[in-house]
Amino acid sequence: MDSELILKGVYFRYNSQWCLEGIDFELKRGEIVGMIGPNGSGKSTLLKIMDGLVKIQRGEILLLNRPLSNYKRGDIARQIAMVPQESTFRFPFSVFEVVLMGRFPHLGPFPFEGKEDEEIARQSMQLTGTLDLATRSIHELSGGEKQRVLIARALTQKAQIILLDEPTSFLDLRHKVEIFELISSLTRTQGLSVIIVSHDISLAAQYCQRMLLLNKGSVYKMGEPAEVITADIISTVYQCPVLVDKNPISKTPRVTVLSKGRVRHFHNSKK
């Protein structure tokens, strides 16, 4: 019963081209799964499929043991929240207003939030450390602050599953780590299940219990970070010579990209 989301033999086609072929996957309660893979390998599409935003041609998706296709959009939104890569608000909504929008799937036909909704929004802001920003305009925030606000909005949605599509791609080192720290503490304290797409393999390996490596629309390898992230696998899939060793502190795999000249040097010195 502790499987939140199950994908069985999922196929998805856009026009005549198969984008995803035979995806099997299971998301367990309270785990963080890192989804990695080269550009165009179908990561974002797979996230949308998990969220029911894109209809699949073949296969089955179960959300809490019920077929996803039986859910109404609003019901899915109460179970799954999505944090986009980037979000542009064209008008200066305040941070509080943005976070409060997460209550949308819980509102009835009367489109106003009550005291309870505001309390939930405030709690989410507390958890993400954005309470101090409440009255600021979303336009004034830095990239890292904005991502934390969007995560707060996802928490306000009160969903058990949070999908993050490259939330750290525009962030610097410190803010990247902060986002991963936040997600990892949320899964521990709130029992959330998280799938996070990231291009920062070494960083994701430090925080994710499992990694899912996509290549050309199918699962190339899935398992614990140490099983998935090996020099062989990564250099084959990404078509780029890499060195994988152990992070001396966390003992998780660490990927170093090798430039062409260094590769020769590296191989020579091995001989």
């Binding site: 986009p84 106003f112 305009s137």
Partner: protein, 361 residues
């Protein structure tokens, strides 16, 4: 000393943030009702002032007396108030209401702060429809508004079609498309004017720049029901518009039927704009000026912004039309001239103020 200073700084900062006021809490129905009442009060005041202004001198006191039910001794004054000024004021209010509402909704749906029925060419499209109706001698009560509506709908679909071809509805593409569509429709209108030889020419020209002098109660009775119905439907989706402003993808994710909402809104706004343009001609920039002013004072939440802009639009256009008919008395200006005099500089100011911020996608 230094320590105590450092300790006082953070709370002070927080206090300042808290004084932001509006944004510290959500929108409540009470807040919407209060704002609506205050703006309605302003609307009534502006109606009274407008009633008392004009070439024939009727004082504000006389107007109030007339409303209170005292029969005016002067029959001509009664005629002027009831048969000429009042229908004109009502129609101006309705036109302002509609155009301003159209502006807010376009700005939200297209996620573009510069969108507005006139700038996008929708008003011109409606005008072409109306002129075709006039030239073919269709009635002003049904035929002309209907063609006008079709013209408006055709234009919004055209602008969307061209504008969205290259990666989303980006600000500059959309505005450029509107400019081109506007230029084309102006040519079409000129063609019709050049080929019409009869006396209707002058009235078409005057009507083209926004003319409310031909207002009759019958126009109100035709336009009021559809406009009210469409407004209510749009208000029902006001919170959905908030989510769309935050990104179509997230809105979709949270259960907003983005496509359906777009179709409903474009149909509704085209209908309203079409009706209004067929009665009043092209009045530009109302949908730009009023929503932006309201957003500055009340914030961007559409649950408050939509009713405030609609009523504010009515206030604005009644004031503009009063100015148009009194400023050069005894001759009159088309009200579109007044709104363009105010609106064009405002548009440029908006572009300069936030241009870079709005064009990033």
């Amino acid at each position: 000393m230094r320590d105590s200073e450092d300790q006082t700084r953070p709370p002070r900062k927080r206090e300042r943030c808290g004084q932001g006021g509006r944004s510290g809490q959500g929108i409540t129905p009470l807040k919407v009702i209060y704002t609506g009442l205050i703006l309605s009060g302003i609307l009534i005041i502006i109606i009274l002032i407008s009633l008392s202004l004009g070439p024939a001198k009727v004082s504000l006191k006389d107007v109030l007396k007339w409303i209170a039910g005292y029969e005016l001794v002067d029959q001509t004054a009664w005629m002027i108030l009831f048969k000429i000024r009042l229908p004109r004021i009502f129609l101006a209010g309705l036109v302002g209401f509609t155009l301003s509402l159209g502006g807010v909704v376009f700005q939200a749906l297209l996620r573009n702060p510069l969108a507005e029925p006139f700038i996008l060419g929708v008003s011109s499209g409606a005008a072409v429809g109306a002129i075709i109706g006039i030239v073919f001698g269709l009635g002003f009560n049904l035929g002309v508004p209907l063609l006008s509506f079709m013209g408006a709908l055709f234009t919004i679909l055209l602008v969307m079609g061209i504008g969205s071809r290259h990666g989303g509805l980006e600000s500059s593409t959309l505005i450029l498309t509107g400019v081109i569509v506007n230029a084309f429709f102006t040519a079409v209108i000129m063609f019709f004017i050049a080929t019409t030889s009869d006396s209707r020419l002058h009235s078409i020209l005057f009507w083209l720049y926004g003319d409310l002098s031909q207002s009759r109660y019958v126009q109100l009775s035709i336009s009021l029901p559809p406009i009210l119905i469409v407004s209510c439907i749009i208000y029902f989706f006001s919170h959905h518009l908030n989510l769309i402003v935050g990104g179509e993808e997230s809105a979709l994710q949270m259960g907003v039927e983005v496509e359906l909402l777009k179709w409903i809104s474009f149909l509704g706004i085209s209908l309203m704009t079409g009706i209004v343009v067929s009665f009043s001609g092209i009045i530009g920039f109302v949908g730009l000026i009023v929503p932006h002013l309201m957003r500055m004072f009340l914030g961007p939440d559409h649950r408050l912004l939509i009713p405030a802009s609609a009523i504010g639009g009515a206030v604005f256009l009644i004031a503009a039309d009063t100015l148009a008919r009194t400023i050069l008395a005894p001759s009159e200006l088309p009200v579109g001239v007044i709104t363009a005099f105010l609106g064009a500089p405002f548009f440029i100011w908006l572009l300069r103020q936030r241009g870079s911020q709005w064009t990033q996608s």
